[in-house]
Amino acid sequence: MATLAPASPIVPGSVLLAAHNVRKVYGHDRTPVLENVTVELRDGEFIALLGPSGSGKSTLLRILAGLMDASAGDVLVHGEPRRGLNPDIAIVFQSFALFPWLTVLQNVELGLLATGASDDERRRRALKAIDLIGLDGYEEAFPKELSGGMKQRVGFARALVVEPEVLFMDEPFSALDVLTGENLRGELQDLWSEHTIPTRAVLMVTHNIDEAVSLADRILVFGANPGHVRVELSGLPLAERRKKGPARAQLVDTIYHIMTNPTEDAIAFAEQRVARVPSRATGAAAPVERAPRRYQTLPDVGIDDLTGFVQYLSGTGGRGNLHELSRDLQMRADDLLALVEATDLLGLADMQERQVFLTPIGQRFAEVELDEEKAIFRTVAIEHISLLRHIVRELEDAPTHTIEAEGVLDDLEHSFSGAEARRQFETVVDWGRYAELFTYDDAAGELRLDEEHRMDLRTKAQDA
């Protein structure tokens, strides 16, 4: 196998790249995407940023890469503050970001264009990277002729050919099927651990717990709204990362637990369970002071998945283990966690350790016919979801029992960033429609109280 230029000896502990107290607010959004985030990337280190969607991991990656500026805080490259593009990095993208009109070779050479290397030199280095990453024979192919895994290999070759000091990876395996992803992951791990590539540090963004545990020296678990580092965990020793042993299971468990309990004190929990990176002045983030939220964060879960999940749990004896559920339902961990959170929020299920249990009402919900199912959902939703309650009250009070969606969205934007507010709104509309609490006319942008409910109100008014 070919090797690229050998790396100079690693100086453990020296910080290559750091973000200090970074905050990011988009445009006119009132709620930041990232708040007070401090991350250090040290020589020889592979770190993974892990967290639910909307926790600003990818934004942080882009700020560290210099693709966007932080709204506040500093990015330090070798200790020097810096703005603008970071020259010694490369990025592997989730969507591969290959130029479809260039061949594999041309795509890989692209990374070298700006270095001013001669045509021959460029070709030689590109071919070497192609060889290294196992793309021999595909040099003249166009990306559309390649499978997903092969495309991402081109993405890796293009990144490695520039011999970056720091390699960024933004969900590099999430667009691939499981086996392909695992295979590529293994190869990357070999290249990295055997120092075949001159890259000194890797920063990977992922939502996949397994991926983070099997690759990273250090794992930063992010929380959402606004994005912040909840806890830093030490990764496993190299020997234990890939094989399925108790240490690995324990770490995966811990992360599962932390991610399913977004409001819990993650640092305290992690300290009981596994090695946590000791807090130092610039290390783990200080807990963020946040104003109390008016509404809970609704997980991004559609009603079909929600009801289907409860049915499934009922079929497996009213309980399930997260790990097994993720496997049996072939779901990504974060999607499953969102489902669990939703059922938990509605009081349909409970979560203990890594077990999900249906509550009695959840059990009943799973057994009854559609009409009653909806009635149950209506009751629990009104009882538990503050936003839904609020909307129904507004609808009851409005003279025409109609309110503008715009108003609800504005209200939500006090608590959530723009995109997240939109998501919250869509979820609440989905749930509210199913519960037959109100209807929503997208073209007019109006929420209308449900017909029956409206008539009930009228009869009540007449009685009074």
């Binding site: 990095i89 264009l113 700006a114 270095t115 933004d170």
Partner: protein, 567 residues
């Protein structure tokens, strides 16, 4: 497999012919200007005239293309630029171009006294204004839809402005640019006749070309020459389609942004032959590649010291560019303000009676355009749906429709006048007919595309549940083609208003004929040099077109996109 030798030989002959043509044309441009230049109606002159017209179109097109690329790139580079430049483009696109021709011709004629060059420039400018706007819109649209990660990859690998443009932006926009280039040429042909003859006061100026040939033939009542001229025009259009556009479309398929290969890529025999030709290969490897490589190196200042370049430099450069832009913006604003002020003071001289007349004219033209659009929709919807929903019919009819559509309506106009002018209200009918001829194709093409896009499972569902007759139209076909219909109608409306200027006031067989209408008012005012009225008419027409777009069409479009888009 190498191409037969004769392809190479043919290419050499073509090259020689084009070279000779350009030299002849250059001689023509230096010639002294003679009012009322005679056009020789003998058929042997037709190829020469056709060549001159095509050359004019080509020059205007190249200018349009360069303008569009630069304009769209600058507009996409900052939010402020975008906020000013896009509405400006929208307004430019809605202004009746022909109104400004007298002024432009006058100015250019004064700049080159006694020479044809001024007039040639005026012709090129007129054609440019009919070609540029949609190109700029299309490229801007491409630029802002480049996938985010692709743009980030370009930044991370420091492609720089030039390489980013040539490796990412231009390829990404290529397919849309080529499709719009074809539309631009069609738009250019529409002004073929208007661009080759100008009336300035009592002077009648003509440029040699196919358009003035057609006009002269109509003036002389020579039906044979008229027919021959039209035939030549169609031949030129078909040749260009086969030799230029089709190969380009087939070639540009490589720029399709797709993750997987598709089966039915466009094909072109010409392209296949060119790609196998030894001469083309030689030019490509020996000439084009080194030249591009040289330009590439010269245009990329980063070469050699990418990693070592001080990090602040690009920012400072950007700031410098910003200052230049700001200054240019201020200058432009000053010129605009002065222009607006002068325009206002000119228009202020009009009496209330004049304004009443302008509004009456506007009403008449509004009625005419509405009738034309309704007629267009009335026949294109059933026909388009019939063609679009029947694959066999579509294959057979599409080329015929394309050729019919490619004949510029203005060129057929003299024939129409022949037939209709003797009848009562003849010009009225002829005007509506011209608007219809010029605009119906946009609607038809869009309806066909819409009908073809109806998913077959929806059609099968309609069949299974016995939805037929009018109910089938109401629940399936009309909603499905609605977004396409709106798109077609938007283009058609602008075209119809523009056509009013050439159709409501005509010089035919030595006679001036006119009817009540905004187009007639503009053409008449230009003819007689009544600038206040010309300006008022132009402003009113622009206002109507823009208001129509904003108040009616854009809303319908949004509705169409949100409610009826099949995904």
């Amino acid at each position: 497999m190498p191409a037969p030798r004769w392809v190479d030989a043919l290419m050499l002959v073509a090259l020689a012919a084009v070279g000779y043509g350009v030299m002849r044309a250059a001689a023509e441009w230096r010639a002294p200007l003679t009012p009322g230049m005679r056009i020789d109606l003998s058929p042997t002159n037709l190829p020469y005239y056709a060549g001159l017209s095509t050359l004019r179109m080509a020059i205007a097109y190249i200018i349009s293309l360069v303008f569009s690329l630069v304009y769209a790139r600058v507009a996409a580079s900052s939010r402020i630029a975008e906020r000013v430049m896009l509405p400006l483009l929208d307004i430019l696109q809605s202004i009746p171009i022909l109104s400004f021709m007298p002024g432009v011709v006058l100015g250019l004629a004064a700049m080159f006294p006694g020479r044809t060059v001024g007039l040639e420039l005026a012709a090129v400018i007129l054609i440019f204004t009919s070609q540029a706007w949609n190109l700029a819109f299309s490229f801007h649209q491409s630029l802002i839809t480049i996938p985010r990660e692709l743009g980030e990859a370009a930044s991370v690998y420091r492609l720089g402005l030039w390489r980013r443009f040539t490796k990412l932006e231009l390829p990404y926009g290529a397919i849309a640019l080529i499709a719009n280039s074809m539309m631009s040429w069609a738009g250019g042909w529409f002004f073929l006749m208007a661009s080759e003859q100008f009336t300035l006061g009592d002077k009648n100026l003509r440029l040699p070309g196919l358009g003035s040939y057609l006009a002269a033939a109509a003036d002389a009542g020579d039906t044979r020459a008229l027919g021959l001229g039209l035939g030549t025009l169609v031949a030129v259009i078909v040749l260009l389609d086969q030799l230029l556009w089709r190969p380009l479309v087939a070639w540009s398929d490589r720029f399709k942004f797709e993750q997987t290969g598709s089966a039915d890529a466009p094909q072109s025999v010409t392209l296949d032959m060119l790609q196998r030709s030894a001469a083309v290969h030689w030019v490509q490897v020996r000439l084009l590649r080194p030249v591009f490589s040289f330009i590439d190196r010269r245009m990329s200042p980063m070469g050699g010291t990418a990693a070592g370049a001080p990090p602040t430099q690009p920012r400072e450069r950007a700031r410098g560019a910003l200052v230049v832009f700001a200054l240019a913006g201020v200058a432009l604003a000053a010129v605009l303000a002065w222009g607006a002020w002068s325009a206002l003071s000119t228009v202020a001289s009009l009496t209330a009676g004049d304004w009443g007349y302008v509004l009456r004219c506007a009403g008449a033209t509004f009625l005419r355009t509405s009738v034309a659009l309704l007629l267009a929709a009335a026949w294109t919807v059933p026909v388009g749906v019939a063609i679009g929903m029947n694959a066999r019919l579509a294959r057979k009819l599409q080329p015929v429709v394309q050729i019919a559509a490619s004949v510029p309506a203005t060129a057929v106009f003299p024939v129409l006048l022949f037939a209709l002018l003797a009848l009562p209200g003849g010009l009225n009918m002829a005007a509506v007919a011209l608007m219809l001829l010029g605009t119906q194709w946009y609607v038809l093409f869009n309806v066909i595309a819409g009908a073809m896009a109806i998913p077959s499972d929806l059609r099968e569902a309609a069949m299974v549940y016995h939805v037929s007759g009018w109910r089938r139209w109401k629940t399936l076909i009309l909603p499905a083609i609605f977004p396409y219909l709106v798109t077609g109608m938007i283009t058609a409306t602008g075209g119809a208003w523009n056509a009013s200027i050439v159709s409501e006031y005509v010089t035919f067989a030595g006679r001036k004929v006119s009817t009540l209408g905004l187009g007639a008012l503009i053409a008449q005012a230009a003819d007689s040099g009544r600038f206040p009225l010309l300006l008022a008419g132009t402003l009113v027409m622009s206002a109507i077109v823009i208001a129509g777009n904003r108040l009616v069409w854009r809303r319908l479009y949004v509705l169409a996109e949100s409610r009826f888009r099949l995904e």
